[in-house]
Point group: C2
Chain length 435, copies 2
């Protein structure tokens, strides 16, 4: 099945144009890409009034349809928020270029040189919620990594996104990069078509609710960077420093409960349950956390009952399920059964228990004596975060700019043929790594 | 949808057992894995008579059903071939352990240390044709990389594979590794079920015909390592050394025409076509290569006509399609339109043309002045090859043992919480890379 059979001619044309523009962008040097990012920055600054006006129109329309408050806050773009997003473009220009990094440089034989070198993926498809500043950040990350990008923002932000992409196009028009590297789709139908365009789109990054990400994952054959759920656990071992464990539990649950790296379940070793549970419960309840416990927990705490569904629920809210386990192994098994492979932590002074937990828990992040909230590209020092992946294969965990590139093998010879290296008088390969 | 709804109870039980055994294997040190490989080597040596007898029974049954000669040659296991496969297990023991490699070691702050460290994937599903020595090679690569493996060999090789896996189990029974890490499926129905077991299987590696690999790719949500097609090109530029170009064309087409890295199409710049084509045609026809040309080629050579289907056909045989192009750009466009992203080469003395070709051709391997036949894990110096991937995302190209591992982020603290690094008096991260 070719894309022309399944997508509208207009979207195929858009995708082809993006591919062509991206192919030219792919070979540009770092400095040219950084100049383009500066041109975008200035164009966005010049278009501030138009962008804010477009956003006010989006906001007015959203209020008229009764948008929920949390969504409205993401949609709304005041001057500070816009300025901060524009500053973010200059920050992206400062990041190391992920393209052209030589990962392998090896002499296979005299005059036969192998290089594995990073290169752009091609075209990214980014589907995000009604959050206009995301269009600015994503476009700049795409250009820095040498990729074309087809954006589809939430419907409520369509005017804001159009104004932003128009400014980006105006900025790029002054540079060596074709404006067509950045495209904006505006209808819901186009989102579905985009997911079928594996001929033109190399990576889909969905940003939105768990159910939306799952929908994308289940409805495309294009690789998807992202995660549907963040069901993170904190296990407090029998050898834990209990004061430390209380502080980490409070941070991991309450510091930003809507984050994917916040914990949803607290596992407590039974040997310290009667001592630890009242202390952690007091600290959490003081911060308005609703607690739900299994039977053993409820023998110690007077709280709601945790049902089966609680172990597989990402509350994204001030709610925490608690379970008492009889061993480290039981904690690991619970996590590997119900977790989402995002980030799980152990608190213990027992280094053997910690090592076992870190080795056997199957998650992108496995932590010892610290909060799960550190699971984040910026905190890891990646400079930017394009997504967090909970798949087992690489890229896994928080993904920086390196998640937007791939690599190819270049082989340089002077007439070398394989026959030289086979048969009775076969010549041997040198396989000597070079600087 | 859970696996228990779609797979037979027996296969679920097998997969669960493999998962558990693999979890224990995952944390074993290199030496223990190498000892297990030595135990397997000895067990296979001891079982040589039984394995050869089982293979003779397979061969007899295959002959009775009229197996094609090429398939028979792969099925047949004589003493030499078996000995060579057993030697291969010792070779795998010599390879570097891909597990436990520290890729990032970074101090985020005082006492807060991040490590990105390689770890096994979990369980591999390997579906291969009736080629019993593959079971030996694959099992040893899986153990070295700390993974469980569920094998399904071609039906014709079932007795041979059973004898091999039985010997592997006997070898493992003497070691710290549970024999259940290696499982053998024997029915065709189980193959289909295996493809649905994303809950237990982390990577599928199909080894077989193009159509079989494509079937696997289209019928599983488990990541697939492999490639359906190898449609490789050689482009002879106007600035080519024509003698070199003839030698490379002959090697790339005839040295092993059934290989995926053999060329299927020769692209020739029109400026040198009338000089080059007769020379290359004579050399190829002397080696019994059937040539099929486009219109411009046939003005110079008296050969069959290349039709549209020829540009998308992997002949895997002594057949070559030839097209005359009017520019480097036309050659790149042809390759990016009809190629399979495997390996494509340019012959030219023009370094700018070479650089453009290597940058713009979208393939795992892009070669200058050498044969496409070098695209191979052993030739690249990987020590082993678990597959060649033509997807854009990593792993791409020939994949060694590193393709069987992933990584996780380990974070070590002493009570660190995220709140310390946010808000008005936020502490800064150090982000200092350590040795």
């Amino acid at each position: 099945m070719t894309a022309s059979q399944i997508a509208s001619p207009s979207l195929v044309a858009i995708a082809q144009t993006t591919c062509q523009a991206a192919q030219q962008l792919a070979v540009l040097p770092t400095e040219t890409k950084n100049q383009a990012l500066e041109a975008i920055t200035q164009a966005l600054e010049s278009a501030t009034d138009q962008i804010l006006a477009a956003n006010m129109a989006d906001c007015a329309a959203a209020i008229a349809t009764g948008i929920p408050k949390a969504l409205y806050k993401r949609l709304e773009l005041d001057e500070d928020k816009l300025r901060s997003a524009i500053t973010g473009v200059r920050d992206v220009a400062q990041l190391s270029d992920p393209v052209g990094v030589v990962q392998i440089h090896r002499q296979l034989d005299d005059g036969l040189i192998l290089k594995r070198i990073t290169c752009p993926l091609g075209v990214l498809g980014i589907i995000f919620e009604a959050r206009p500043d995301a269009a600015i950040q994503i476009s700049s990350l795409a250009i820095k990594s040498g990729n074309g990008v087809i954006l589809k923002g939430g419907a409520e932000a369509v005017r804001s996104c159009e104004a932003i992409v128009q400014a980006i196009h105006q900025g790029l028009a002054q540079t060596a990069i074709k404006p067509a590297v950045t495209q904006l789709l505006t209808t819901r139908e186009q989102t579905l078509e985009l997911l079928q365009m594996e001929q033109f789109v190399d990576l889909i990054i969905p940003r939105g609710s768990n159910s939306f990400v799952r929908f994308v994952q289940e409805n495309t054959r294009i690789p998807v960077l992202g995660h549907a759920e963040g069901i993170c656990h904190l296990y407090v071992d029998k050898a834990a420093d209990l004061e430390q464990a209380v502080a980490i539990a409070v941070d991991a649950k309450t510091q930003y409960p809507a984050a994917c790296n916040a914990i949803e379940t607290l596992l407590v070793h039974q040997a310290i349950a009667s001592d630890f549970l009242p202390r952690v419960a007091a600290a959490l309840q003081a911060r308005d956390v609703e607690l739900r416990g299994d039977e053993l927990t409820r023998e110690i705490l007077d709280i709601l009952e945790a049902k089966a569904v609680d172990w597989v629920t990402e509350y994204s809210d001030l709610i925490l399920s608690i379970k008492v386990v009889d061993s480290l192994e039981a904690a690991i098994e619970h996590i590997n059964t119900y977790g989402s492979g995002h980030t799980d932590a152990i608190v213990t002074e027992d280094s053997t228990a910690a090592a076992t937990f870190l080795a056997q828990v199957n998650a992108a992040g496995v932590y010892h004596n610290c909060s799960t909230r550190f699971s984040d590209g910026f905190r890891y020092g990646f400079g930017a975060e394009v997504g967090i992946s909970t798949q087992k294969l690489s890229p896994r965990g928080p993904v920086g700019l390196e998640g937007l590139v791939t690599y190819k093998y270049q082989l340089f010879g002077t007439g070398h043929v394989a026959a030289t290296y086979t048969g009775a008088n076969a010549r041997s390969f040198a396989h000597k790594d070079l600087e």
